[in-house]
Subunit: 120 residues, 2 copies
């Protein structure tokens, strides 16, 4: 994950008390890099501007990428999924960048945080 | 993620139609590696043997690790969280391996898969 997006990251940015929603995106990439990093960065910035956006966590290793974004409600998620620039990115993703992915929409019911600096 | 665990991975292993549950674990590690990799691998293998386990996805880069495990219901998750060997690992995690983490329990309501090999 680009360091510039650290301030968007769910682990650094507090999500509210549940309930809220999570979009879990797990993906395997192709070998095509053309435009991928720029578009991923742009989508992060654009998502963060959407109504109902609460935060995002993203990690990628050789085999798998996982991005979890957090949203106030299903309506916010639907609106973001239909955003015109996001729709274009989704199409390029299917045509060029992703070999396989799974998108799951889930309602967060409980959450618990641990911080070693504040542990008793 | 260790290649030996590929066959446990949610993206390779089919999860059923929703609803089911996801445990989203996002973490920042400390610099302590002692026993971490072995315990993480052992927990993966042990989780996969629990009743109600449906699959797991895990990715870690320098800044952040994300592990999402999938479960049939809340009862399965509670049982796994109280498993004695898992409780020991959780305690070592808080004392040694993790600087910060967030654990979220979410009900998966919708899912969609894409596979470039089967795209039309």
């Amino acid at each position: 994950m680009n360091r510039k997006t650290d301030n968007l990251n769910g682990i650094f940015r507090e999500t509210p008390e549940p309930p809220y929603y999570a979009v879990i995106f797990t993906s395997e990439r192709t070998d095509v890099d053309d435009g991928y990093a720029e578009t991923a960065q742009r989508m992060l910035e654009l998502a963060a501007q959407q109504p109902g956006f609460l935060g995002i966590d993203s990690a990628r290793d050789d085999a798998l990428g996982i991005t979890v974004s957090y949203w106030k409600d299903l309506a916010s998620i639907d609106e973001w999924r239909r955003h015109s620039e996001h729709l274009e990115a989704q199409q390029r993703g299917r045509e060029e960048w992703y070999r396989r992915y799974t998108l799951r929409i889930a309602r967060v019911e409980r959450s618990k945080k641990f911080d070693a600096d504040n542990a008793t």
